[in-house]
């Protein structure tokens, strides 16, 4: 198993929540103090560097017009980390290629980071959450098709070394494509794509890329990972290697259970702060009519992330792993066996007001006490054996997930 340290780089110093309509899209940036922001960027970069020193890998991402994530250009942060870190793999999850008008520019940025880091880039492509639609001003209908067209153009740009080609697709057009530099890794950096249903998982599996899932929890993880395994087997004729699947959860490890749970409470800022009105969480064309209607009807009026930020409930759902090293290991192991195994654990281990020291203490306990055991667990992965273990674990009672984490469903 490979573990990926992740923070969304929030700017948490906000006025009273009742004083604004939304933390995303239209929150005036007068609330962003540049000097405070500079301190925060410095802290987040230090955290990633600490992850590198602890033997963890690094994941970053980008969002736009939001205090929940003040990195609107993840490749810039990656460019810094390419120099500042030594060993960590550098995962961007991801490039919002459905929303970016120039896929070739993405190919160039990623090739540059790959060369700067001497081949440590892992390149993710995402459709982007619904709140990204207004800032990007790209109609989200058929966003998944757009993602795959951009993917095809980018991978072609990475792997073409004998002069230019032209591209005239449905969504994107490019002339005389001939990128400099080309990627360090051959034929190209590993590709990750997010997935939120069995259908989208099968599309990732067909291409053999790493499929990543955010916060699907016990209620949905089996159907998504099953979709990937089935799609992989059908396309490639062999069982999926375990390193093809990735899961992201909120993780806090403490010396005591109390310490771990207190830290996890702070991580829940990621969910509890996500105040978003329906016009941003449910733009036309993003969700299916069924999901859009459910969100319109929903008691939470279509806010994206779960309104329930009760820690016990989120832990029961498999969205948060927290406690002592033993407890966290057992929680992850249970989830791992329940869903049939995965080889990448993306760990959001900093959010909101969680301090540098608190974050590092949790990361250190994870890397020293939990990570080795998880590596051991996945090293013994055997597809047949895993199926037997899984068969003995009945489906967790099918709780109504309604619009829970609906921005990750597609």
């Amino acid at each position: 198993l490979r573990a990926w340290f992740f923070t969304e780089d929030a700017y948490p110093y906000l006025p009273d929540e009742d004083s604004y309509e939304s933390i995303r899209v239209n929150l005036p940036n007068k609330h962003f103090d540049p000097a405070t922001g500079a301190d925060l960027y410095s802290m987040y970069l230090d955290m990633w560097c600490a992850a590198d020193e602890m033997g963890l890998n690094i994941m970053n991402n980008e969002h736009h017009q939001t205090a929940t994530c003040v990195v609107p250009a993840a490749p810039i942060m990656l460019g810094i980390l390419a120099r500042e870190t030594k060993n960590a793999r550098l995962l961007i999850l991801g490039n919002p290629v459905s929303n970016r008008s120039q896929p070739v520019r993405v190919a160039e940025e990623m090739a540059l980071v790959d060369v700067l880091s001497r081949g440590r880039l892992e390149c993710g492509f995402v459709r982007g959450v619904p709140y990204e639609i207004a800032p990007a001003n790209v109609y989200p209908y058929r966003g998944t098709e757009k993602l795959w067209e951009a993917h095809d153009l980018i991978t072609k740009a990475w792997t073409t070394h004998d002069g230019p080609f032209n591209f005239e697709g449905r969504w994107f057009h490019a002339r005389q494509v001939n990128i400099w530099p080309r990627p360090y890794q051959q034929p190209h950096p590993p590709v990750w794509v997010t997935m939120g249903s069995a259908g989208s998982a099968a599309q990732v599996a067909q291409r053999g890329h790493i499929g990543a899932v955010f916060l699907a929890g016990y209620p949905r993880i089996r159907s998504i990972f099953d979709g990937y395994r089935k799609g992989y087997l059908e396309t490639h004729g062999t069982e999926m290697p375990i390193d093809r699947l990735a899961y992201c959860a909120l993780i806090c490890v403490g010396n005591t259970e109390k310490e771990g749970l207190e830290g996890a409470e702070k991580l829940l800022w990621y969910m509890s702060s996500n105040k978003v009105p329906p016009q941003y969480s449910n733009p036309p064309g993003y969700h299916s009519p069924e999901m859009a209607a459910t969100m319109m009807r929903g008691s939470n009026s279509g806010t994206g992330l779960p309104t329930s930020t009760n820690l016990a409930e989120q832990m029961a759902r498999g969205n948060v792993f927290a406690g002592t090293p033993d407890q966290v290991f057992e929680q992850i192991k249970s989830f791992y066996e329940y869903c049939g195994g995965f080889g990448n654990l993306m760990m959001m281990s900093q959010a909101g007001f969680m301090t540098f020291d608190e974050t590092l203490a949790s990361m250190k306990l994870f890397s020293e006490e939990v990570y080795p055991r998880l590596k051991e667990l996945t090293a013994s992965y055997d597809a047949g054996q895993m199926r037997e273990i899984r068969a003995g674990l009945p489906d967790v009672e099918n709780v109504d997930v309604s619009t829970l984490a609906s921005e990750f469903v597609r």
């Binding site: 109609y139 064309g285 859009a292 319109m296 009807r297």
Partner: protein, 259 residues
Amino acid sequence: MASETTTVVSLRGVDVPIVRRGSGPPVLVLHGGDGPVDHLPFAEAISGSYKLLYPTHPGFDGTPIPEHFDNLQDLIFLYLDLIDSLDLQDAILLGFSMGGWLAAELAVMSTGRFSKLVLVDSVGIKPGGPFDRDIADVFASSAAEILKATWHDRSLAHSISDMTDAELQTFASNRIAHGLYTWEPYMHNPKLCYRLHRIDFPTLLVWGENDGIVTPDYGAAFRDLIPGASLSVIPKAGHHPHIEQPNEFAARFLEFASG
């Protein structure tokens, strides 16, 4: 009461349901982004002397969005085919909001089959500069803001809480189609202002005095681009004067149509 019939016209694989009502010279009615309204309150008054042809744009009212459709251009060319297929002669084009934009685009492309044009609180042009908000951004507005901008009498608005699940799903589907046809450039064609001079038949623009989606000033700018067009503003009405003041709307339509 005039009876209604619904037929489906198939145009190269795209099925367009058309409601027909009344008899007389044809009026091609093009609905707006809210989708077809079942009981057009002014239809009773008009269908005594005209034959209303009321198609549903693909994507609305439960119909699928054709695989190759990306924006309003696709709808315009579908309607050019439809007009040929119906062999419309001397028809009156009547378009509401987004349907008004569609009507104006058809009018500049195919002037031969139409006798008159009526645009009701229509979008489609961009009179202001890049920083001017000519058309309310309905896709970035709260439900309360949209309600306020759309209606003079807000009690006439459909409430989500009163919709059945099936109606709500149709509402959600309509919204997807509306976004597809109007997303970017937002609710307008930058080229249309250079083409509206081609309209060589009488044109009436009808506007709700209190429309906050596109104001009567926007209507006046639209009028000024169409040779000889006139603007008729209906008091105590917002974006849907035909729903808020159906009698007044029908009277103004009939006066123009028969004139």
